[in-house]
C-alpha cells in the first residue's frame, strides 16, 4: 500500500485529533500536558521521517525523498522547540489554552504536506492547512489589540497571496494540461517553447510563495505581524513555516519548472537582492526588537534565495545549509526574546536589554553569540551558512549578487552589533526576570550548536548534499 509512505503525516493528523479531544474533555485547563503530548507526537513524527523510505504515493500527489526528509526534520524540530518556548510565556500571559499546541501541530502537518507535495493541488492543500492555524495563533492573544490586528492583517494579505497562487496554478494547469509535478516537468522539457500564459502562471506561483517567506516586495506584513503576535508565535513564524515555504519554492522551481530556468531566474535574482538590501537597511532604525528580527529575517531569506537563484546543485546545497543554520540561530535568539520580562511583564524594546552583560551574563553571552552569528562573523555557524551560498554565487559567476550580498551583510552587521553594544556597553536598565529553565536549555543548546558547528560541519554538509542531489533527480 503506497499510503504507508505518508506515515508521518498520518500519525500527526490522527494524534492531532486525539489530542484535541483529550484537551476538550477535562474541566480544568490542560495547556501544559497537551503541549507535552504535542511535542511527543512531533518527536514520533520526526522519528518516522528518519526511517521513511523513498518514493511517490497517493496517486503521485505525495513524494518522499532525501530532500523532503531534511526539510521535514527542520520543520518538525523548529515547531517542537517553539512549543517549548511557549510553555512558560503563554502561562504568564494568560493565553495558556490547549488549542494553541493543537493549532501548531496542525500547522506543522500542513508544512509536511507542503514539503512532500508533488502536485499543485497537494501544494495548495498543504499551504492552506499551514496558513489557517497561523492566522489564528497570530491573534491568539485575543484581548490584545495588536495581536488581533496582526492576525487580521496576516489573514487578509495571506488570503490575497493564496489567491494569487491559486490563480497561477490554474494558469499553469490550463496551459500544460496537468497539475502533477512529474508530468509538468515532462511537458516543459519539450522543445516547443513556453507560452506566455505558463510564464505568467509561474510568476504568480512564485509571488504566492514569496509572500509566505516574506521576500521583498511581498514582505509588508512581516514587521507588523512579528511585532503584534505573541513572542513564541513570532518565533514559530520566523522558523518552521519559512523552512516549509522555501522547501516548496525550491521543489516547484527545480522540479516541474526546472526547464523554465531562464524565465524564473531573473525574478529570483531580483527578489533575493531586494530582500538583502531592504533587510539590511530597514532594520537599522528599529527600536522594537521583534520588528528588528522581522527585517533581519527578510534579509536572511534574501541570502537563502541567493542559493536558489543561482540554480545549481552547489546553490541548492548552500540554501539547505543556510536554512538549517538559520532555524537554529533564530530559535536561540527567540528563546532570549521570550525570556525578556521585567517585573513579570514582557518587554520588547532593544533598550530593555541594556546592561544585560552585567545583570545576566549567561543570557547576554548567548545572545551575543547569536548576533555575531547572524552578522556572519566566523567561527560561528552563521558565517558558514553565508559562505556556502556565496560560494555558489561566485561559482556561477553572479558577481553582482555576491557583491551585494557581502556588502549588505556588513550593513546588517551594524544593527546586530548594536544589540551587543546595548547589552555589554550600556548601563543596566534594571535586571530582567530570571529565565525559566526551558528557555535556558533552548538558548544553551542552540548556542552550543552555533559555537561548535565549525568543529564538525561535514555531517550537515553531507546531508544537505544528498538532499540537493535528490531534488535535482
Amino acid at each position: 500500500m503506497s499510503w504507508t509512505l505518508a506515515l508521518p503525516e498520518l500519525v500527526l493528523a490522527i494524534s492531532g485529533l486525539v489530542i484535541l479531544v483529550a484537551g476538550v474533555i477535562p474541566k480544568q485547563e490542560t495547556f501544559v500536558p497537551v503541549t507535552m503530548a504535542t511535542v511527543g507526537a512531533l518527536l514520533v513524527a520526526g522519528l518516522l521521517v528518519l526511517s521513511q523510505s523513498e518514493g511517490t504515493a497517493l496517486g503521485g500527489h505525495y513524494v518522499a525523498d532525501a530532500f523532503s526528509g531534511f526539510m521535514k526534520l527542520l520543520a518538525i524540530g523548529g515547531a517542537a522547540i517553539c512549543l517549548l518556548l511557549s510553555l512558560d510565556f503563554n502561562t504568564r500571559e494568560g493565553i495558556a489554552r490547549f488549542e494553541y499546541p493543537v493549532l501548531v501541530l496542525l500547522g506543522t502537518l500542513g508544512m509536511l504536506v507542503m514539503i512532500s507535495a508533488n502536485d499543485l493541488l497537494s501544494l495548495y492543500l498543504g499551504l492552506e492547512l499551514l496558513s489557517l492555524p497561523l492566522y489564528v495563533i497570530a491573534a491568539f492573544h485575543r484581548d490584545n489589540a495588536r495581536s488581533a490586528e496582526a492576525g487580521l492583517k496576516y489573514f487578509v494579505l495571506g488570503a490575497l497571496a493564496s489567491g494569487l497562487l491559486l490563480y497561477g496554478s490554474s494558469l499553469v494547469y490550463g496551459f500544460a494540461g496537468t497539475t502533477n509535478f512529474d508530468r509538468l516537468a515532462d511537458a516543459f522539457s519539450a522543445d516547443a517553447g513556453v507560452s506566455a500564459g505558463v510564464v505568467v502562471g509561474v510568476v504568480f506561483v512564485i509571488t504566492g510563495l514569496a509572500f509566505k517567506i516574506s521576500a521583498v516586495p511581498f514582505h509588508m506584513w512581516t514587521p507588523d505581524v512579528y511585532e503584534g503576535a505573541p513572542t513564541p508565535v513570532t518565533a514559530f513564524f520566523a522558523t518552521a513555516p519559512k523552512v516549509a515555504a522555501i522547501a516548496l519554492l525550491a521543489r516547484v522551481l527545480v522540479g516541474p519548472f526546472g526547464d523554465l530556468v531562464a524565465q524564473w531566474q531573473q525574478v529570483l535574482l531580483l527578489i533575493s537582492m531586494a530582500s538583502m538590501i531592504l533587510g539590511a537597511f530597514a532594520a537599522i532604525g528599529q527600536r522594537n526588537i521583534k520588528r528588528l528580527m522581522a527585517y533581519s529575517s527578510i534579509g536572511h531569506v534574501g541570502y537563502a534565495l541567493m542559493g536558489l537563484a543561482v540554480a545549481s546543485d552547489v546553490g541548492l546545497r548552500g540554501l539547505l545549509v543556510y536554512m538549517a543554520i538559520y532555524v537554529l540561530m533564530n530559535l536561540g535568539t527567540f528563546a532570549v526574546l521570550v525570556a525578556m520580562r521585567r517585573d513579570g511583564r514582557a518587554v520588547e524594546q532593544v533598550d530593555d536589554l541594556a546592561g544585560l552583560g552585567r545583570t545576566d551574563l549567561g543570557m547576554a553571552v548567548w545572545m551575543a553569540v547569536f548576533m555575531f552569528s547572524m552578522a556572519g562573523i566566523p567561527p560561528l555557524a552563521g558565517f558558514f551558512g553565508k559562505l556556502y551560498v556565496f560560494l555558489a554565487a561566485v561559482q556561477g559567476g553572479y558577481w553582482t549578487l555576491a557583491v551585494i550580498g557581502v556588502l549588505t551583510s556588513v550593513v546588517s552587521a551594524y544593527y546586530y552589533l548594536r544589540i551587543v553594544k546595548v547589552m555589554f556597553f550600556d548601563q543596566p536598565a534594571g535586571a530582567l526576570d530570571p529565565a525559566p529553565a526551558s528557555l535556558t536549555v533552548v538558548m544553551a543548546a542552540s548556542g552550543l550548536f552555533v559555537l561548535l558547528f565549525v568543529l564538525w560541519p561535514a555531517p550537515m554538509l553531507a546531508a544537505a548534499q544528498a538532499a540537493a542531489a535528490a531534488l535535482l533527480g
Binding site: F383, L391, V410, L417
Partner: protein, 503 residues
C-alpha cells in the same frame, strides 16, 4: 610528525581557550573571581609563551618550507582542511603574539577594575585567534581566525574603553569587516578555480592574469584596512585612543601586522604579476602615508593619537618594503614589523603608565615628568629613540634595510621613506620634550610615584628585545633569510615568465 614531536602549533593556539574555560568555571565573590582571573590568565599566557620558545629553538632557519606542519581533514570533499604550519615569515609573529599577551595581561593588572573576568577571557580568546591566524596554512582557516579577531577586540574596546568607545568600536569593526568580505569573495573564487584552499597547494596554482588584478584589489581592500594604509587608516586613531592600554598594545603590536602579513603570504606569491603591476600604486600610498601621517602626528594634542599616527607612518615603511620585491626590502619590512610591534607596544604602555596615574592623555597636561619619575623618563626615552630609528635600537635595522631595498627600485621612493624618518624624529622628540622636560606646571604631578615593580616587569622584556634587535639583529634576520630568498626567486621567475610571454 613535526619537529616538536607533538602538535605544537595547535597547542599554542588552543591552550589559551583552556585558560579561558578555567576562568569561567570559577564561582565565588567578585574579588576572588577577579584575582583568580588575573592569575589564571597570566599563567596560561606565560605557559603558552614558554611553549612557543620551542619554535625559536627547533625552527630550522636553513629551510624555506613550512615547518611544524599539522593536518587534519575537515571538509575533505571540498579541498578544505585544518592545516597549520609556520615558515620564516610567520614564525616570529607567532612568538610576538605569545610574548605580548602576558605583557598585556600584566599591564592590565590594576588598570582594569570592572568585569576583570570577562576582560581576561576576551584577551585569551584574542590570543587564540592571533596565533591561529599566523599559523594557519589553509585559506578558509586563515579567514576564520582573521575575522574572529574582531569579536574580542570589539568587546575590549567597547566595554573597557574611553568615553567615545562605542563609536571607536563600531568604526573598527565595520571598517575591517567591509574590507574582509571583499577578500572573502576573492578567496571563494580561488577556492572554486583551484579546487583547494590549502595554501602550499594554492602556491602551485597559476592564477589567470586577467583575474589577478581583481583578486589583488579584493585582497588590498582587506589588508590595506588592516595595515592600515592611507587613506583607509582613519579607524586606527579612534580605536587606539579609546581602547584600554593593553588593547592598544595588542592592536599596534600584532593586529596591524596581520595586514602586512597578508600581503606577504598571499598577494606576493599568488599574484606576482598583479603585484608587480600595482607596486607603484602601493609606493605612492605608502609614501603619502609616511609623510602625511607624520605631519598629522606633529599636530596632535593627545599622546595616544600621536603614537597611533606614528604607527600608520611606520606601517607605510613596511608596505613600501614589501613591494620592493628584493631581499633587503622584504627582510627590512619583516624586521620593521617586529620592531614596531615591540616599540609601539612599549610606547603605548608608557602612555598607559601616565594615564593610570593622572587619567589624562593630554600632552599639555604634563611637563617636567623627568624630575618626578626619573626611571620612567629613562624608559620612555629609550622607546622614543627606538621609534625615531636611532642606530642600536630595533627600528633602525628594519628601516635602513627598507630604504636600501627601495633605493634599488627608485631613489625617489627611498627619499620619501627617509623623509618619513626625519619627520618621525621631529614629532617624537617634540612629544618627549613637552611631556618629560620643562617646568612642572601642575602641582598634582609632584605626588606621582615612579615605576612600580610590576611595571618594571612589563617593560624589562621589551627593553631587552629592543636593544637586542638593534645591536645584534642577525638571529632574527636568519629566520627570514631562506624564506625571503625563496619568495624573491619565485616572484622573479613568475614575472620574467610573463614578460617573455608578452614579447
Amino acid at each position: 610528525m613535526n619537529a616538536a614531536g607533538f602538535p605544537l602549533l595547535s597547542l599554542l593556539t588552543f591552550l589559551p581557550l583552556a585558560g579561558a574555560a578555567i576562568i569561567l568555571s570559577v564561582r565565588g565573590e567578585e574579588a576572588v573571581i577577579a584575582r583568580n582571573a588575573r592569575w589564571t590568565a597570566l599563567w596560561t599566557s606565560l605557559l603558552v609563551f614558554l611553549l612557543s620558545l620551542l619554535l625559536w629553538v627547533k625552527f630550522d632557519t636553513g629551510s624555506a618550507g613550512f615547518q611544524f606542519e599539522e593536518k587534519l581533514s575537515w571538509l575533505p570533499e571540498f579541498g578544505v582542511g585544518y592545516h597549520m604550519g609556520v615558515d620564516g615569515i610567520s614564525v616570529l609573529f607567532v612568538l610576538l603574539s605569545t610574548a605580548l599577551t602576558p605583557i598585556c595581561i600584566l599591564a592590565s593588572w590594576e588598570s582594569i577594575e570592572t568585569r576583570v573576568r570577562e576582560y581576561m577571557v576576551a584577551f585569551l580568546i584574542l590570543e587564540t585567534m592571533m596565533v591561529g591566524m599566523f599559523a594557519a596554512l589553509d585559506f578558509i582557516v586563515f579567514y576564520v581566525f582573521f575575522e574572529a579577531v574582531l569579536i574580542p577586540m570589539f568587546l575590549i574596546i567597547g566595554v573597557w574603553g574611553g568615553p567615545r568607545r562605542v563609536y571607536a568600536a563600531f568604526k573598527f569593526f565595520l571598517y575591517t569587516l567591509l574590507g574582509s568580505v571583499l577578500m572573502l569573495l576573492a578567496i571563494l573564487y580561488l577556492w572554486y578555480n583551484a579546487g583547494t584552499t590549502d595554501i602550499p597547494e594554492l602556491f602551485e596554482y597559476q592564477v589567470p592574469r586577467a583575474a589577478q588584478s581583481w583578486i589583488f584589489f579584493a585582497f588590498l581592500a582587506s589588508f590595506a584596512v588592516k595595515v592600515p594604509m592611507w587613506p583607509v587608516h582613519t579607524w586606527l586613531p579612534d580605536a587606539h585612543v579609546e581602547a584600554p592600554t593593553a588593547g592598544s598594545v595588542i592592536l599596534a603590536g600584532v593586529l596591524l601586522k596581520m595586514g602586512a602579513y597578508g600581503f606577504l603570504r598571499f598577494s606576493l606569491p599568488l599574484l606576482p604579476e598583479a603585484s608587480a603591476e600595482f607596486a607603484p600604486l602601493i609606493y605612492v600610498l605608502s609614501i603619502v602615508a609616511v609623510i602625511y601621517t607624520s605631519l598629522v602626528a606633529l599636530a596632535q594634542e593627545d599622546m595616544k593619537k600621536l603614537i597611533a599616527y606614528s604607527s600608520v607612518a611606520h606601517m607605510g615603511i613596511v608596505t613600501l618594503g614589501i613591494f620592493t620585491f628584493n631581499a633587503q626590502g622584504l627582510s627590512g619590512a619583516l624586521f620593521t614589523m617586529l620592531a614596531h610591534g615591540v616599540v609601539s607596544g612599549a610606547l603605548f604602555l608608557c602612555v598607559g603608565v601616565l594615564y593610570d596615574r593622572v587619567h589624562s592623555r593630554d600632552i599639555l597636561r604634563y611637563g617636567g615628568v623627568a624630575k618626578i619619575m626619573p626611571a620612567y623618563a629613562l624608559v620612555f626615552m629609550l622607546f622614543t629613540m627606538a621609534s625615531v630609528g636611532l642606530p642600536g635600537t630595533a627600528n633602525f635595522v628594519g628601516e635602513f634595510l627598507v630604504i636600501i631595498g627601495a633605493w634599488q627600485v627608485n631613489p625617489w621612493v627611498a627619499f620619501g621613506a627617509a623623509l618619513g624618518m626625519i619627520l618621525g624624529a621631529a614629532y617624537m622628540l617634540y612629544l618627549y620634550r613637552r611631556v618629560i622636560f620643562g617646568r612642572i606646571t601642575r602641582d598634582d604631578l609632584r605626588t606621582l610615584l615612579d615605576l612600580s615593580p610590576r611595571e618594571y616587569a612589563t617593560f624589562a622584556p621589551l627593553i631587552l628585545l629592543t636593544l637586542w634587535m638593534g645591536i645584534y639583529p642577525q638571529p632574527f634576520l636568519d629566520f627570514f633569510e631562506a624564506t625571503v630568498t625563496a619568495l624573491v626567486a619565485r616572484h622573479e621567475a613568475a614575472v620574467s615568465v610573463s614578460r617573455l610571454a608578452g614579447m
